[in-house]
Symmetry: C2
Subunit: 191 residues, 2 copies
């Protein structure tokens, strides 16, 4: 039995752990500063197991950002599923935008690292497109497709502008924006 | 007279050219891949003139992104100033969002490189905050301050979602979004 096979049997979650460690390394030093060596050290696995589990840095980055976007999407889907009607969905959207600004610096950095990759390399747009698709589908429980797309874009823009401004924004502006963009909603009952 | 002083007299736009070259190098290989050596080569200046003109990479990056955001802001201000009334301003906003998606890959990459810097390092938020401030001021020729902020956020979100999706979006959605978000405009006459 090779060391790698032994490692795999004794450590069945190794591949998973490498993916999580890769996200930590990206959050800390950016995609450009991410190497097999740094990720192996962060995951506490031998360098050789990196090439055993992943075909190269592109596969690892793709898997890492897939996990990141899936985690964020699932949280969003749970919030939208928990809302009994469109009014509650509006309130949940406002809460997530207003909380995000206090929120997670790690998530902000990982989002923009992914957007920068996707801006430069069309292969990463499958990830950003899938992420948008899931967000819109979650919103379509409560809103017609056009309203869902517009609301998704407004969430994006307000979150970025709140995070990257030098001054705090009034939460009232978020309430007003969500009300205006969903005023034309033609979906009559939440699903 | 030193070589640097001579270079400066014969080449008064050298500092300017270094800043432009820096943006080219960032667009090509990202902030993380940007070095004094690469920028000097792209600007066709001796490596020594980099340290003569800039106190370090942070000053150079700050100047480069200041030039980038100033250029984009001035174009936006010209478009808003050319609109005789709020209706024309709405049409100009729609046109710029719809054109941006075909538009400039360089601008898309530079925007996300800056956002990634600002997400990680609060010192770059003076740049993103100033950019937002200029956009909102330009929109306030035609819209009240709250409408201007919301419209600015919608422009951001729609531009990103159109650029990073895998499929083309219907321009009608942009027209509808701008109409909805500006429906509450309380500024009665454009300035």
């Amino acid at each position: 039995m090779t060391d790698l096979a032994r490692g795999r049997r004794n450590d069945p979650h190794r591949r998973d752990r490498i993916i999580d460690a890769c996200l930590d390394v990206i959050a800390e030093g950016g995609v450009a500063g991410t190497s097999h060596r740094k990720v192996a050290r962060a995951a506490d696995v031998p360098l050789g197991s990196m090439t055993y589990h992943f075909d190269g840095m592109d596969e690892l980055l793709h898997e890492a950002f897939t996990r990141f976007t899936t985690t964020v999407s699932e949280r969003f889907e749970r919030r939208m599923a928990a809302a009994p009607d469109a009014e509650a969905a509006r309130e949940a959207v406002v809460a997530l935008i207003v909380e995000d600004v206090l929120g997670d610096a790690r998530e902000l950095v990982l989002t923009h690292e992914l957007y920068t990759l996707a801006a430069r390399d069309v292969r990463y747009r499958t990830l950003t497109a899938a992420w948008m698709g899931r967000s819109r589908a979650a919103l379509e429980r409560h809103f017609d497709p056009e309203t869902a797309r517009l609301l998704d874009a407004l969430i994006e823009g307000l979150s970025i502008h709140r995070a990257l401004d030098a001054v705090a924004h009034d939460p009232h502006e978020v309430i007003a924006g969500v009300a205006r963009i969903t005023a034309g909603n033609t979906l009559r009952a939440s699903r």
